[in-house]
Symmetry: C2
Subunit: 571 residues, 2 copies
Amino acid sequence: MAAAEGPMVLRGRVHPGEYHDSVRLMRVAASVRALDGVEEVGVLMGSPANRELFVEAGLGFDGIDGATPDDVVVAVRGSSESAVEAALDAAEELLRTPQGSRRGIVYPTVESALRDAPGGAVGLITVPGEHAAAEARKLLEAGHPVMVFSDNVDVADEVVLKQLAHERGTVLLGSDCGTVMLGGLGLGFANQVPTGPVGVVAASGTGAQVVATTVAALGSGVSHMVGLGGRDLDDEVAGISLFDGLAALEKDPTTEVVVVVGKQIGRRTLGRLLEVVGSMRTPVVTCLFGQGNAWVSRLVGAWPASSLAEAGQVAVRLATGDLPGHSGDPVDLVAVGERRRELGPGRVLRGVFAGGTLAQEALQVARAVLDEVSSNLDGAVGTAGHSIVDLGSDEFTKGRPHPMLDPEAQAERIRGFGADATVGAILLDLVLGHGAHEDPGPLLAASVAAARERAAAEGRELLVVASVCGTDLDPQDAGRQREALRSAGVVVMESARAALFAALCVADETEQAAADARAATWLRRPEAVVSVGSTWFSDAVEAQGADVLHVDWRPPAGGDPELMDILDRLD
Amino acid sequence: MAAAEGPMVLRGRVHPGEYHDSVRLMRVAASVRALDGVEEVGVLMGSPANRELFVEAGLGFDGIDGATPDDVVVAVRGSSESAVEAALDAAEELLRTPQGSRRGIVYPTVESALRDAPGGAVGLITVPGEHAAAEARKLLEAGHPVMVFSDNVDVADEVVLKQLAHERGTVLLGSDCGTVMLGGLGLGFANQVPTGPVGVVAASGTGAQVVATTVAALGSGVSHMVGLGGRDLDDEVAGISLFDGLAALEKDPTTEVVVVVGKQIGRRTLGRLLEVVGSMRTPVVTCLFGQGNAWVSRLVGAWPASSLAEAGQVAVRLATGDLPGHSGDPVDLVAVGERRRELGPGRVLRGVFAGGTLAQEALQVARAVLDEVSSNLDGAVGTAGHSIVDLGSDEFTKGRPHPMLDPEAQAERIRGFGADATVGAILLDLVLGHGAHEDPGPLLAASVAAARERAAAEGRELLVVASVCGTDLDPQDAGRQREALRSAGVVVMESARAALFAALCVADETEQAAADARAATWLRRPEAVVSVGSTWFSDAVEAQGADVLHVDWRPPAGGDPELMDILDRLD
């Protein structure tokens, strides 16, 4: 990153009358950012809000104020005039290259597409949130199920559309729904997993992905993944799609077990879920781990799982007829001890996550053993101390691609941790599948190598622990991605275990309680009881046939506190 | 309770130079309170704090100010002069009757008892808290394990004594330790359970009792119950006795499974627990349900249980070699629906508990499905709305017996609920065993009958749900106690299920989502995808071999918000 230290050149261009969707623009920006001599790039539509983002990022240039929401704005900061101009040219070229569906026909409007769409088509909406409801309604009114990937949809619109879908016998999946799989076809972010007996209903996209990939790793498969959108379990929406999904899976002949995944659930919705689950013939595994109390689902006959991976394991065991046993493969505590010695005391944990539910799970695990873990999931991320950041949340994705599309936001932070003497352990996730970055492992591995090198140059050890959500059938090949990380010295394990391993490695060493090698002599039926005080408990002991030596205790000096103080001082 | 409505007579007596322990005094008070024409009774030592309690309870009388801490004070309020005088005479007679150990020798001091005590004797301390540490130290220095039942012991003293015990190869169990069982001998409150393979380490007395009685009900038994005292798992004490107990059980040849029970655990102590559990050969079941994150113990190979009863079930299954499966016997949701109709909407739940951990468990379950459940466990008990009260906590036991010794505090509240039109469901526990009240079921059943009668007279249904912690071998016979409750119309079930049943019965009825009878037509591989927006996800769908109808969506009017508003209004 030598470029960041020399003098900087900043140039921008406005391309009038062009429109591209935000993912396309971000992909262009990511390609340009990778060019030699480029330090920072912005490629966005010229809305007032976006123009402010340019200025905030130090990418404001003469002429940006003239841009309108109908124009594409490109700005590049780099090490030289020539590098910046070459980057702007490259952006222009990329924007001009036709993209879009490789084989399908491109339609100008939903109405025109609907004229050609077969009855069994599904809608997939990825337009900006304020326009998503209107487009979804067109598809729902034509009887099609619809997945709304877009976020920032008005919740009142979501409720109305979900009720509409329910009445029409179809379904609205979303808004802010990242992952759906219907009959093996993944929409949005989805791993390539075999079809099989496990149905998933999930208010969390990455949560569903972890469950599905765990199921696949155990040799089983997934029937359907019904994504609900992050708000469906709130009492405001009250699980309209959740209950549509459960009713559908209960009747689906290919589904033998259902897994319900969510970060949190409203109380009324949980009450209703308990009643629905209690009336289903299909076994239900619940993983509602943001809700400490969701284990009450056990009381109506469901199987509560305590981590995403465990939910997948329990589901497979139920589908194969085995009772759920222990997950096995516990965290290696000898390795924890060794790493803790290498790292030394007082080091901190930093988690940088692409998957929101993975970040949430890691935060919970870390907080169980570490004091004061800050996070943007429920507050602000501290500049010092332990922290876990969900880089996929809104505040980090304004004007930048989601880290599942481009791991640069993770890589950038990892490189920074190499220079921070307080950091002892880095925890990260890597989410693969359709829709995700095509080869994130090597990019992240390079950032880890750089961070570890920097730390080593200053005599510090740096532990990096990662979890990979993916299968070997995914376009990125999970095995190859794990290998790339391992070659940079990364410890790769299942997500919750990764979080515990990293957290224990930086936990203050607890005082050694020196487990005594002698067998305890007190762990046997006492020969007698010396009972000092109440006769009540002496009687209870005698009633069991034991000898009691009762001490008829009286307070010293009859219980007068002042006199007792005096007597104490005479001792 | 007609007496409460007529004119009242209040008289008191001071018995100078007498000392009796608080349990004895409370038993006397309970006996006198049961006499005809008696409304309220106080029997306490005459300390300044106790004299204030008399005044606060409306039991202050002429002459009480002359009482000293060396005197017993008795006050009675009743319906007539003769009834009150008869009650005061009865109290005097009961205080004069010699009590104490029925067969053992009574010693004046710990020192004298120690001269006769065999090497294998255990100490049991029930003196007032400020004196407990001094007496415990004498026994520990002589090499005896010691159980401190007393509460209000200085925590610094507890740490010093626990370290002393650890160094001497013995153990301090407590302070505030309600239940211990060593080789089948119960100390404090303990159920009569068969000896067997399950060892219990518990920072919660009633928690340990529920685990032990569940184990007994499943035909297995308990090796030892190592009570720790409520503060042992705090980081201030840092589990000194916990780790002594685990080390002892790990080496104990009769223990095949260990259950760790606690309401909450400090982070450092949990970190250390994970390391110790991870290094044990004996399987460990954890039930730390006050700590939502304690499921991380699964990650080191432990078996987390989500309720006290489940902890017992899992332990027995591990001891018998079966993998833990489902607990079965889920809450009957048809019955919930019927009860909810009977009770009608807007009724509230009131829980009145003797066991602190049972109250905590019920509170967690109730809060999962009900809004705003107040409790003295973490705040103040509201006068309206849902509430769960731990009547065994300090604020309710000053000058009154613990509800496990005398269920009158529960009975009194239950009677009151009968007159409260807002109350729909009452939830209570009943804890049996050595040390507990000799026959609480009929007393509570009578209060339930009175409450239900009063409610019925005003045309209201009242649901009463109870859990009984005990075995048929207990002095009170759990089967007989359950029968007494059932005969008054009480629904008796396992504690966590009781709480969920009661909570669901008063939960606001959730809107019927009308699970559609039609099989969902959308739950199948789509024939095509109408993709509106980003080409990125269209490409990801096509890569899976599906047909895409891509809509080249552009914002209306080029994305200008003002113009879009105008267009919207024109629609």
